[in-house]
């Protein structure tokens, strides 16, 4: 089971470190990261394995969006099934 973590915000030092640390604390294992900086805006999409999460999935969603608010970032976590449903037959 996987989830997609999307991060958008003004670029600054240490965003990946903070988000990765947040994932690690929750027990989400990072499988893939793609990120760009465009016009000073940082955009990252992470795919994480959530089989070993240390908490219910919805708590992970809350923890990550809380981490985003604290750091001026927009962080959303979505279960992979919504992407699979939409883009795979």
């Amino acid at each position: 089971m996987k989830a997609v973590v999307s991060v958008i915000g003004r670029d600054s030092v240490g965003i990946i470190a903070k988000v990765s640390a947040g994932c690690a604390e929750c027990g989400a294992n990072i499988l893939d990261i793609s990120q760009t900086v465009l016009n000073g805006y940082f955009t990252m999409i992470m795919i994480v394995d959530i089989r070993e999460l240390a908490m219910p999935f919805n708590d992970f969603v809350d923890r990550m969006s809380g981490l985003g608010r604290k750091n001026g970032l927009d962080i959303h976590v979505m279960h992979e099934d919504i992407f699979n449903s939409m883009h795979r037959i």
Binding site: K2, V4, S6, D32, S34, I45, I47, F57, N58, V61, D62, H76, V77, M78, H79, E80, D81, I82, F83, N84, S85, M86, H87
Partner: protein, 452 residues
């Protein structure tokens, strides 16, 4: 493996183009609540709704969080109350409405549907009582939605019911006149009403439905409009293809949510209604889809053709994405709930006659249209009869939700706020159909009903 392009597309559909699940609607049967004592009938209905739907809102919120997609409404539809009202008087029927309202309030849902009657062929005592009670019931409740099916392709048109609904709509408008006649926004007159529609105000739990069922309505006009804009100057075949692809993706999300809600609540999945349901928010408009195809303004010549193509492509794209498709499924064109329609009606591009033509090719009917407050009941009945005839002859659902705005004339506006939006009062022909309406009786079922 998930591809970044797909992920970004989904995220921008939700965040920028307002893709959402419009409603998870739980249908609840009330048959075995039947009782000859009104107090006990109310108690049983209340208890049944509360026990079946107690986890509905919480479950909806959990699914919303899991998939990161807004689920705007969680709602309940019940057995048509006319079937429960055989033994009650008008006051008793209004008490039933208040019971539904109380249950809706305590469940935390914004609307409950099913204050309804099916009278396409004639009235039972229960349906007569219920219909007579509608104005008072809607004036005394906040969240109850009412609908009356007055015709079907199989049965023809019950013109006595059409005449009666003209008077009921007028009376409802008067009783809720201090709130911009809002009662009429919760009252729909149907032909060929679907029994599994999850959208309000026309939702009820049909007579062939199981004890309890989950139906889901998807939305996403903004997503379709953006996809068309991105295509640039392509031909209409390509636009139809784009709409199909987009409708497929939207519906797959609806199917996912429906399946999950059904599993979590332990209630069978009924249908996904693949409708494009607009909201007054800018960017969430069916009119803008039509305009993005190249119309200067919704309502101009060409609008019916554009809408016909949109409606057909939505169905073709959506039908493969869900195991069970039902409800109204198509494009909605409620004037007050669609920023582009409001704009087009206000500038005179969109008129009642054009809307009537548009309803021949899309899923619903004359929806959320404000008309002058002094429009006589027989003119309202005439509008209903015309719209219902389109449905009966074309074997499709049509509906009328008109708001005779008390104290208002053409040029004024009524504002309901929230999803119900704002409606400019539109002009209506003042020539009278009074004698035609007063004849009553039934318009026979058309020849195309004889299919056996």
């Amino acid at each position: 493996m998930l591809e970044a392009r797909d992920i970004i597309e989904t995220i921008s559909m939700i965040r920028e183009e307002r893709l959402d699940i419009r409603t998870i609607t739980m249908g609840i049967s009330l048959y075995d609540c039947q009782c000859d004592d009104t107090d006990r009938l109310c108690t049983r209905i209340y208890d049944r709704i509360m026990s079946r739907a107690r986890d509905l809102v919480r479950t909806g919120e959990e699914i919303e969080k899991k998939y990161g997609i807004p689920i705007i409404n969680k709602r309940v539809a019940v057995t048509p109350i006319a079937l429960m009202a055989g033994g009650v008087n008008i006051d008793g029927a209004v008490r039933l409405a208040r019971t539904l309202d109380r249950a809706a309030r305590e469940l935390g849902i914004n609307f409950i549907g099913g204050y309804s009657a099916l009278v396409q062929k004639g009235f039972t005592n229960g349906s007569r009582t219920l219909i007579s009670s509608i104005p008072q019931a809607l004036a005394e409740t906040e969240r109850v939605c009412s609908s009356v099916n007055v015709a079907s392709t199989k049965a023809g048109i019950n013109m006595d019911a059409v005449a009666e609904m003209g008077r009921i709509i007028r009376k409802t408008a008067e009783l809720t006149g201090e709130q911009q006649s809002i009662g009429c926004a919760k009252l729909v007159v149907f032909a060929n009403v679907p029994e599994d529609n999850p959208f309000m105000a026309g939702a009820f739990h049909g007579i062939g439905e199981p004890e309890c069922v989950i139906n889901v309505g998807v939305s996403g006009p903004g997503v379709v409009a953006s996809a068309i804009r991105r295509k640039g100057d392509c031909d209409l075949t390509e636009i139809a293809e784009t709409i199909k692809r987009t409708a497929f993706k939207i519906t797959r999300v609806g199917q996912l949510v429906a399946r999950e809600a059904s599993e979590r609540l332990g209630v069978p999945f009924g249908i996904v209604d693949l409708s494009l349901a607009p909201t007054p928010a800018v960017g969430d408009s069916v009119a803008y889809i039509l305009e993005s195809m190249g119309l200067e303004k919704c309502g101009c010549c060409g609008t019916t053709a554009a809408l016909a193509m949109l409606n057909d492509a939505v169905k073709k794209g959506g039908v493969m994405a869900s195991s069970h498709v039902g409800g109204l499924s198509g494009a909605f064109i409620p004037v007050s709930e669609d920023a582009g329609m409001i704009d087009a009606a206000r500038c005179g591009a969109l008129r009642l006659e054009k809307l009537e033509a548009m309803t021949a090719v899309c899923s619903v009917g004359l929806d959320m249209i404000a008309i002058p407050g002094d429009t006589p009941a027989e003119v309202i009945s005439g509008i209903i009869a015309d719209e219902i005839a389109i449905g009966v002859i074309n074997s499709k659902t049509t509906a009328v939700r008109l708001i005779p705005a008390c104290g208002c004339g053409v040029g004024d506006s009524v504002s309901f706020g929230g999803l119900l939006g704002e409606a400019p009062v539109m002009p209506v022909s003042t020539w009278s159909p009074a004698k035609f309406i007063a004849r009553g009786g039934r318009i026979p079922a058309p020849i195309q009903s004889l299919k056996n």
